[in-house]
């Protein structure tokens, strides 16, 4: 009886190790952002790592308007339903927080955006959403951009921009500058 029990334990151990290895592999493969080579996130200079300040601060979970710091950030992104700590992890400010509690780096922030914007996330992963530059086939580098590179996560709506000048009219035959 004892021998059987020891054998079972050993089997369970090996199974656990195998499962652990598998899960690590899967989590790396699924989440890890290795398949999306993105440039560094567009931080304001000097703001990262956030833990420089926040490690020593108290966590205030109350939803409020920030008066002391981060006053330039205008929350205009589902602000009636969410606020800072719904995306930024309250304990480790260097990470972002997914729905299931998982913490991710800012370099994979697309996973967070993709939780609500699933359709667009699917398009982005296929490469058809957002700006593309560089090479699309062959040996050259494929580049992706993070959501945050084009959309300010706090105020994502694209700002209006000034258009380039219209072409010369055909009546202006010589269009000398």
């Amino acid at each position: 009886m004892e021998l059987k029990f020891i054998k079972m334990q050993r089997n369970l151990h090996t199974l656990a190790i195998i499962l652990l290895i598998l899960s690590a592999f899967f989590s790396l493969a699924l989440g890890a952002g290795q398949e999306f080579p993105v440039p560094p996130p567009p931080f304001t200079e000097g703001i990262f790592p956030c833990s420089q300040c926040h490690a020593s601060m108290e966590t205030n979970r109350k939803k409020r308007e920030l008066k002391d710091e981060h006053t330039k950030i205008r929350m205009h992104h589902a602000e009636t339903m969410r606020w800072c700590l719904d995306c930024h992890d309250s304990k480790d400010r260097d990470k972002l927080r997914l729905y299931n509690g998982e913490l991710i780096n800012f370099t994979e922030s697309h996973r967070l955006c993709g939780e609500c914007h699933g359709n667009l996330y699917r398009d982005w992963r296929a490469g058809i959403h957002g700006k593309r530059t560089g090479y699309f086939m062959g040996t050259g580098k494929r580049t992706y951009l993070l959501c945050a590179h084009c959309h300010d996560p706090h105020e994502p709506k694209f700002k209006r921009m000034m258009p380039e000048p219209p072409p010369f009219r055909p009546t202006d035959r010589r269009n000398v500058k």
Binding site: P170, T171, R173, R174
Partner: protein
């Protein structure tokens, strides 16, 4: 022995040819005051036109008023009109050779030479419209890379040059026979003459198809285009021929009966009826269905979004065509020279407007992306166009100066023979 005979006959031939050239030169340089005034004013216009063309050639087509929106202008408008006029020689060929209508038979040769002059003008208009005339050899079959049979422009090059050849070869053959006092070998020449009838229809059909095949331009992409072209061609060409023949019979000994002129005018009346009917059919289709594609028609007849440069022109053309039609239909006005000439003038101008600018420009307005740009020819284009018209008229005048004396028998080989004998 044979060699000497050959040398002697060659010598004789050269002497005859030299005599011929000298006589021709004397013929064309001798004439009345009006003749000199006419030729010199034409020469002046040609020189001015050439100077303007040279500027256009050096600087590029930016010297014209054409743009990416309206990329064909006065040159192609004139080209279209002239191809129509040239096709009209067939209206003389059919009665004289198929129906043996004697009054016209004597003057067919002159009509064909007129068609040849029109062809020269048409080809010149295309040449001045080309951006890179220095690369013209790319258009030649076998030497260049002619896109036959897919491109209608390639067909047009072949058709126009073929028609030019026919309309030089046939009259020259007949005139040479006349010069030598010999009867033409009808077995040889009649096939060419009969060929020129479908060929005349062919050149204008090909020119019509050139526009017709463009799906991008709904104004031109109508099956009625080729019949309309032919109908208007058979109005304008014979009208100018009527005027020219009256001038010819005034300044030379050629006798052209009034009957011939009235017959041609009657044919014009039928052609004009067809032209107006086909135009009416097009207008009905566009206005009744009222699709987006009627925008070009609207631009032409009413104006589009306050752009209405062509509207007065086309209505003037319509008025002229209808008036001319009535004048030619009613026998009493048709058979009175004053009203006949008025009708001819109205048709010449009216069909020019309708088939030249009134056809080419609305095809580009609005352009495929909906833009409206109004085109007005500028000085360079006007001067070059006048220059080419003057050149065509000069060529025709000089041809007539030689052909008419041959036709009347004044200028013939017997002079040379007499000269040789009395030397």
């Amino acid at each position: 022995m044979n060699l000497r005979k050959a040398m002697e006959s060659l010598q004789g031939l050269l002497k005859e040819t030299w005599h011929f050239y000298r006589k021709t030169l004397i013929l064309v340089t001798r004439g009345g005051k009006i003749y000199y005034a006419w030729c010199f004013s034409l020469l002046a216009i040609i020189v001015v036109g050439f100077i303007f063309y040279w500027k256009q050639h050096e600087m590029g087509l930016i010297e014209t008023n054409m743009t990416d929106q309206v990329s064909w202008g006065l040159y192609i408008a004139n080209f279209t009109y002239l191809v129509g006029m040239a096709a009209a020689a067939v209206l003389l060929v059919i009665p004289s050779y198929i129906y043996q209508f004697k009054p016209i038979k004597g003057i067919v040769v002159l009509g064909e030479l007129f068609a040849a002059s029109c062809m020269v003008m048409a080809i010149l208009f295309v040449m001045v419209d080309l951006g890179r005339l220095d690369r013209f050899w790319h258009m030649l079959p076998f030497i260049g890379s002619m896109n036959f049979p897919a491109s209608l422009l390639a067909w047009d090059v072949l058709a126009l040059n073929g028609y030019l050849f026919l309309n030089l070869f046939i009259p020259i053959y007949l005139l040479v026979k006349s010069y030598y006092g010999k009867k033409p070998n009808w077995k040889f020449i009649l096939p060419f003459i009969l060929l020129s009838i479908p060929w005349a229809v062919g050149i204008h059909t090909v020119t019509a198809f050139l526009y017709n095949g463009l799906a991008a331009r709904p104004f031109w992409n109508a099956s009625i285009l080729a019949p309309r072209f032919l109908a208007s061609a058979f109005c304008s060409g014979p009208a100018i021929i009527i005027v020219i023949f009256q001038i010819i019979r005034k300044v030379s000994a050629i006798k052209i009966e009034d009957g011939a002129l009235f017959k041609v005018a009657e044919l014009i009346a039928y052609a004009m009826f067809l032209n107006l009917f086909l135009l009416g059919a097009e207008i009905f289709k566009e206005y009744y269905s009222g699709t987006v594609h009627m925008a070009s028609f609207k631009y032409l007849f009413e104006g589009l979004h306050h752009h209405n440069e062509l509207v007065p022109w086309i209505w003037a053309a319509m008025a002229m065509n209808v008036t001319a039609f009535i004048l030619f239909l009613i026998p009493s006005t048709r058979e009175r020279l004053s009203t006949l000439n008025l009708g001819c003038l109205l048709i010449i101008v009216g069909v020019w407007i309708e088939k030249g600018p009134g056809f080419v420009i609305p095809g580009f307005v609005p352009d495929p992306l909906g833009e409206i740009h109004e085109y007005v020819p500028n000085l360079v284009e006007l001067m070059v166009s006048f220059g080419i018209w003057a050149l065509g008229l000069l060529i025709f005048t000089l041809l007539m100066k030689v052909a008419i004396p041959i036709e009347t028998g004044e200028f013939s080989h017997t002079d040379y023979e007499k000269g040789v004998i009395t030397k």
